[in-house]
């Protein structure tokens, strides 16, 4: 290479890539001027580096610390906080809406029973065993029926709902249909009872003291039978929790 003073500066600062470094290293072997420039660059750089550090002006640090505490209004945070709060409030309001809960439970009922195998965490046809399993997880459940008509208890688990909560979900299976029992894990605006249809399923929401129990099935007759079977159980449950 021919003399390139800028490259020599980069070389002196070890800032060139491997190929350029090798080229300059070879060049300075034969070029005393460029070798001298490398020396001069490094010497000046060392002199600049050894310039004394300056003292901070009195009070500057304290002024910065003080000013950084008195921050201007955080506009950026507010811009996000308001819509976020609105979404949260709307979400909380919506999840207390009985028709939304009916839709949410029906969605979960269909999801669980469309899976092979059923995603139960406790497998038992024994109401006692299912209640004990829930008790171990910290949920007190009413004594659920062992069978209603041809529908038999098969198991249970906690299911994630669209309302961002986990609901105890008990599974019943018959030859051609299924029924789910839920305990809704959050507040619902419901006086006593809601009978409705959601997504092609029949749904009941029943208020028992502070809790709301949900029944979901594909056939209205199954759900009706379950409601009748559950009435005495729920009454006893309510009396006990009182």
């Amino acid at each position: 290479m021919s003399c390139d003073p800028e490259q020599i500066t980069g070389f002196a600062d070890a800032a060139l890539d491997a190929a350029a470094t090798a080229a300059v290293a070879a060049h300075i072997e034969t070029c005393p001027e460029c070798r001298a420039q490398v020396e001069a660059e490094r010497e000046l750089s060392a002199r600049l580096r050894s310039l004394p550090a300056l003292e901070l002006p009195a009070g500057l640090e304290a002024r910065i610390r003080h000013a950084s505490r008195v921050r201007p209004f955080p506009v950026r945070a507010v811009r996000w906080a308001l819509p976020l709060a609105a979404v949260l409030v709307a979400g909380l309001w919506l999840r207390g809406e009985a028709s939304f809960v009916a839709w949410d439970l029906s969605r979960d009922h269909d999801k669980c029973f469309s899976k092979q195998p059923l995603p139960a965490k406790v497998w038992s046809g024994e109401p006692r065993a299912v209640a004990d399993w829930f008790l171990l997880q910290g949920t007190h459940l009413p004594a659920v029926p062992e069978r209603v008509g041809e529908l038999a208890l098969v198991g249970a688990r906690y299911c994630p709902l669209a309302s961002l909560s986990f609901a105890p979900h008990v599974y019943y299976r018959g030859a051609t249909s299924h029924v789910s029992l839920f305990v809704v894990p959050h507040g619902v605006r419901l006086d006593d009872r809601l009978a409705s249809h959601a997504r092609g399923d029949s749904v009941r929401l029943l208020r028992v003291e502070g809790e709301v129990v949900g029944i979901v099935g594909e056939r209205e007759a199954d759900v009706q039978a379950f409601e009748s079977a559950l009435r005495p159980v729920l009454a006893a449950w309510a009396a006990r929790s009182r």
């Binding site: 000046l44 300056l54 002006p57 640090e61």
Partner: protein, 154 residues
Amino acid sequence: MLPQMRSLFGAAYRMTGNAHDAEDLVQETFLRAYRALDRFESGSNARAWLHTILQRVRTDAFRRKQRRPDTVELLGEGPEVAPPQDALASGREDLERALAALPDVFRTAVVLRDVQELSYAEIAATLGVPVGTVMSRIHRGRSLLREALTRRPS
């Protein structure tokens, strides 16, 4: 933070040649840095990051000054303020004076490289220019410094 503040003040002083402007620069830089702390990538060079902010503060101040010409000079050619007392005492006044007399772009590049010890890549990112430009500015700045120093040997 105190060592960073001292180091940044030293650089700001040598870039502006004026303690008052340097103080304003450092204060504004740190306030912006505190506000943008969530955008600092841990593991990267805090000094380079602070210098990036400092350059932005200088640019903003320069634009303000252009709109209102009566405000204090932040970017200038050779500042005429005397170098700091301790530098005089330690006999480095020639170097300080020659540095202060450099045109702004070269002085900034040399200060970032030789006083602040940033890499070429960090300086390029800080100033928003290609690495080749950084090399050329450092080269030019050091050449001018050497010329000034040989004219007035210490």
